[in-house]
Symmetry: C2
Subunit: 390 residues, 2 copies
C-alpha cells in the first residue's frame, strides 16, 4: 500500500472537531436528517456535546437516544489510523462541498447528507467528484453487462473521469476493475465500516482501490453491511457523481434506487440497453421508458455529464455508399440503369419517369463518378460494379 497522506488533510481540522464528528458518525443510523441539520446549525463540537447530554430537539433525540451513551470516537479514529484510513469531515477543504449541497436542498429526510466520511486512499474526494460518473448495476450481471461496465468505466478513466461504484459483485466490481485497468481513479463507497472488506471476494480489489483511488463509507469502523445500509449508501454514490449510469439492473434493484436518488439530487440518469429477453436489462429499459438517457458508448456518457461543448460525442461511423452525394434525380437515373443489357436514353427516360433534359446531365455526372458506363449509344452500370446492388 502506498503511504496515505491523512496528515495533510487532517492537519487543517482541529482534533476536537474530528472527535466530535467521529462520535456523531456512530450515534445515529444514517440517514439522520434532523441530526445533520442540528450539527449544521450549532457546529459539530457543540452538537456532539449536547447529544451526549440529551439536550437536543425532540427529533434529534429520537435519532440519537439509542446510542448516545456509546462514545468510541477515540477508538474509531485510532482503528482507522491503524489501517491507513482517516476521517474526512465537512470542515476539511477536501470535503466535496458542492456535490453534497444537493442533499440538504432536496428536503427529503432519506437524502440527508453524511455527517462525516471514513476514507482510505491517496486521492482527494473533492477533486475526484468534480468529474465523476457513478456506474452501478446488478450483482447477478451477465457476461454482456460485465463487459460493457468494464469497457465504459475504462473509457471514463482514460478521459480522467472518476468512476464511482459500490464494490459489489457484478457490475460494480467490473466498473472498478475497468477504471483500475485504465490507470484511472475510482471510488468505492461501502455500506459497512472502513475496516471491513465486503464482499469478502473483493478484498483484493478494495485493497487496490485504496492504493490509487479512495474507499469511502459513512459507517463507523466495525459496522456490518446490513441490508438497509446498501440502500442508504446508494444516495452517496449518486451524490458524489455528476451522473449515474445503470449498466444492468433487474426490475426491483438497488441500482434503480440509486437512479431514483440521482434524479432527486438533480443528477443525470443514464442506462445501457440490452436484449429485451434479458431480465438483467429490464430495469434499464424501464428507466429509459421513464426518461433516463439511453447510452451505448462512453462518448455518449461523457457528452451527457461532461463539460459543455468540450465533451461532445463524435457521430458514430456510418456506412458509406458509392451513391452518396448524388442528388435525387441522379439517384433515380442511377436506379434505372440496367446492370446488364445496356439501354438507350429514351428507355432510361421512361424507366425513371424523368424528362430527357434532366436524364442527360445526370448520366454525364454518373459517368464522371464511375457509376455509369456508355457504350455505342447505350448506358448501363459499370461492368465491374463499384456499387452494392440490392
Amino acid at each position: 500500500m502506498s503511504p496515505p497522506e491523512p496528515a495533510v488533510a487532517a492537519a487543517c481540522v482541529e482534533r476536537g472537531v474530528l472527535l466530535a464528528r467521529a462520535y456523531l458518525s456512530r450515534v445515529a443510523e444514517p440517514p439522520a436528517a434532523a441530526l445533520a441539520a442540528f450539527v449544521e446549525d450549532v457546529g459539530a463540537v457543540e452538537a456532539a456535546e449536547r447529544v451526549r447530554r440529551g439536550a437536543v430537539p425532540e427529533k434529534v433525540a429520537r435519532q440519537t437516544e439509542a446510542r448516545r451513551g456509546v462514545d468510541r470516537a477515540q477508538t474509531d479514529l485510532a482503528c482507522a489510523e491503524g489501517i491507513g484510513a482517516r476521517l474526512l469531515v465537512p470542515e476539511d477543504s477536501g470535503w466535496p462541498r458542492w456535490p453534497f449541497a444537493a442533499f440538504a436542498l432536496t428536503g427529503d429526510p432519506d437524502l440527508a447528507p453524511p455527517l462525516a466520511l471514513w476514507v482510505r486512499g491517496p486521492a482527494r474526494l473533492a477533486e475526484l467528484s468534480e468529474r465523476a460518473v457513478a456506474v452501478v448495476g446488478a450483482r447477478a450481471a451477465t457476461g454482456y453487462g460485465v463487459h460493457i461496465a468494464c469497457d465504459i468505466a475504462g473509457g471514463l478513466a482514460e478521459r480522467e473521469c472518476t468512476v464511482v461504484s459500490g464494490a459489489a459483485i457484478g457490475i460494480d466490481g467490473a466498473a472498478h476493475r475497468g477504471a483500475l485497468a485504465a490507470g484511472g481513479p475510482t471510488v468505492a463507497v461501502l455500506a459497512c465500516g472502513i475496516d471491513r472488506a465486503y464482499p469478502a471476494a473483493h478484498a483484493a480489489l478494495l485493497h487496490r482501490i485504496g492504493e490509487s483511488g479512495l474507499v469511502v463509507t459513512e459507517y463507523p469502523p466495525t459496522a456490518v453491511p446490513a441490508r438497509h445500509r446498501f440502500l442508504v449508501r446508494n444516495r452517496l454514490l449518486a451524490g458524489m457523481a455528476g451522473g449515474t449510469l445503470l449498466v444492468e439492473a433487474g426490475l426491483r434493484s438497488g441500482a434503480q434506487r440509486t437512479a431514483a436518488d440521482a434524479l432527486a439530487l438533480g443528477r443525470l440518469v443514464m442506462a445501457v440497453p440490452g436484449p429485451v429477453t434479458s431480465g438483467m436489462s429490464a430495469g434499464c429499459h424501464e428507466l429509459i421508458r421513464k426518461g433516463a438517457l439511453l447510452v451505448s458508448r462512453v462518448e455518449e456518457v461523457l457528452e451527457a455529464v461532461g463539460r459543455l461543448g468540450i465533451d461532445l460525442a463524435a457521430e458514430p461511423d456510418r456506412p458509406v455508399q458509392p451513391t452518396d452525394g448524388l442528388d435525387p434525380v441522379q439517384v433515380r437515373v442511377h436506379d434505372a440503369l440496367p446492370a446488364r443489357a445496356a439501354r438507350d436514353i429514351c428507355w432510361l427516360m421512361l424507366e425513371s419517369g424523368l424528362p430527357i433534359e434532366v436524364v442527360r446531365p445526370a448520366l454525364v455526372e454518373l459517368e464522371r463518378r464511375g457509376l455509369a458506363e456508355y457504350r455505342e449509344g447505350r448506358w448501363q452500370r459499370p461492368s465491374w460494379p463499384r456499387t452494392g446492388q440490392r
Copy 2:
C-alpha cells in the same frame, strides 16, 4: 388462392375512374405531389385526360412529361385481374381515407399521397389500417431481432392489430410470419409491381399474405424494385399504421427512414433495444436517444398505439421479498436481527440505532410475520430462514 372479391369493392367505382387512376399510377414516378394535388383538384378522369394532352400546370408537366404517351391502363387492369389483384382508388369506400389524410397535411413533397394502390387479398385496407402497427427493420437481422419481430408481431395479431411490413428478408419477413402464425391479418407493402414476387425468396410468403391479408403497392404491374422505390414505399408503411416499430436497424437504414416518415406523419415511433455491442441495434438506440419510445414487450406497443385506457400494459412481474410491506423501522430492526446467536433487545436497540420503545413493537410484528424468533429472552431470525439473506 382463395377467391378474391374485387367485384364488391370495384362495383362502387366507375370503370372510367379506374382507367384514369390506372393511367395516373403509371404516368408519374411516386411521390408525385404536384400531380396528386392536381388530381385532387380536378378529379381523376379530367386529370388523366389533361395529362395525356399535356394541358397541365408546369409542375405536373415536369412529373408526367416522360411517360404521358404511355397508356397501359387497360392492360394493367387486366394483368391485375389475371392474378387476382385489383386497383384500389380513393373513390372507393375501402380506401384508408383518414390514415392517408396525413400525407397531404405534411406539405412535404416527399410525402405525397399515392394516386391509387394495386392490392391483392381478401382484406379491406380501410379496416385493417384502423388498428395497425408497422413492424420494420434490418435485412441483415440477427437471430435476436428475428425472434423479437416474430414474437411481437404474433402478439399484435393475437390482439387483432394488423402488422404492416415491407416483405423484405430479415425483420420484415419475421414480422409477417409472426402475424400469419397467430392467424392475424398482415399487410405487405411492395416497392414493385403487384405481379412481381420480390424478394424471390419470399414468393411463398407473399402468396400466403395474399390469401388472408393484403399485398399492396402503388407501382403499376411490371414495375421493378429500383432502390429509390424502397425509400418511397416506406412512407406508405408508416402512413398505413398508427405507429411504427423498429426491431433492428443499422445506423443508416431504410427502417430509420420509415421512422422519420412516421414522425413527419404524426405517428408514434417505437424501437426495441438490443445489445449495444450489436450494430444491428445501433439504429434503434439512436432513435430512442432522439425521442422514440423504447418498447420491450408487445403490451407496451399496444399501450402506445392502442385505445386510450383500454390497451394499458400491465406492470411486469417484480420479484417479491418476504420483507415487503414492512415499514422502515421494521426493516431496520429486521436487518439488525442476527441470523444465529440470538441477542437481547438492548443489543438490538444499539445495533439498529432505534429507541427501545419502537424496537419492541417492531419485533412483535416481525415475529407475527414469521421473520423473527423469540427464545429465552433473546431474538434472532427464524432457524429455518424464510428470507433471502444477502
